[in-house]
Symmetry: C2
Subunit: 153 residues, 2 copies
DNA sequence: GAGGAATATGCAACTGAGTTGCATATTTTT
DNA sequence: AAAAATATGCAACTCAGTTGCATATTCCTC
């Protein structure tokens, strides 16, 4: 096992963890591999919960990014199905990676009305509402919960 | 059966259908019986689906009402539990009467991504997510569906 | 690699739902 | 009827998200 040359180490560190995976995802989606898309994908890959635009921007350590770019980048990632809008809270959208989602529904989100923190209920899956016999074509079912989180209860 | 005096007829007509019921609801809730609250409650009682502020204001035939008053009126009705925020769509809140709701969840809402119309699925009830054993105290569970309505499918 | 087409970014200015302060009007209580 | 409590309207504001346009970056072809 010969160690990779030093500049490759530096390069990897500079690109940050998950950069290669992000590039791969973008290539498959046929999107330009831009600094913005790679960085935002990395942030979302590391996030434990959905994030707002300003929270995403706040985690971009390498370089500041205008909110316009953040929104437009998210929009492009949503279009190709890599990201989705998880929910709105206090008039702001929260975004998250679209993996861990089954075909028609993602995991439920629980938002604590006391501390405002949102928890992804990854291991909870409610049945799909049976409304196709009425002529509805369900694209997506979303479940939101509100109440007190374990810490606040 | 003596008919009520004519001015009572006129008065009932002027107050509109459901005015008495609205007054009753407000009295029980210990809120002032104002023109705004009565009128908005009537609109919501007759609505087949959740309405935005401007849609509510647009249905007030008697007298125009400032949007500030509509929002503050809805806020007061929400505080006492007569109304609730059903969902947001395109950055706007949709309001509806809080009846027809069980303790912890209301009926699901289906919004058509083609025509934008929302349908209340009054006869659909999903089980509550079982997360209380994890320490969560669920106050409200909300289910949103997206796709194509029968007319658009 | 150079050049050019396609696409992405940033700035500044805008949009629009919802909010706030304050003076005035209405409702309820005494 | 007067006083206390609360509601309304206006104008001005907030702030998440959007748009037009000039510039910069990415990718593709040679």
């Amino acid at each position: 096992m010969t160690p990779p040359p030093q500049d490759e180490f530096l390069d990897a560190a500079k690109r940050g963890r998950g950069a290669d995976k992000a590039r791969q995802m973008l290539k498959v989606a046929q999107l330009y591999c831009t600094e913005a898309r790679i960085a935002i994908l990395q942030v979302l890959m590391q996030a434990a919960r959905p994030l707002r635009q300003d929270q995403i921007a706040g985690q971009l350590t390498e370089r500041a990014m205008s909110k316009v770019t953040v929104y437009r980048t998210l929009e492009s990632l949503i279009e190709v199905g890599l990201v989705h809008r998880a929910f709105t809270y206090q008039r702001a959208w929260y975004f998250e990676l679209a993996d861990h989602c089954t075909e028609h529904q993602c995991h439920p989100h629980f938002t604590c009305t006391n501390c405002g923190v949102t928890h992804c209920l990854m291991d909870v899956l409610l049945p799909l509402a049976k409304i196709s016999q009425k002529g509805f074509v369900v694209d997506r079912q979303q479940v939101r919960l509100e109440g007190l989180c374990p810490a606040c209860a």
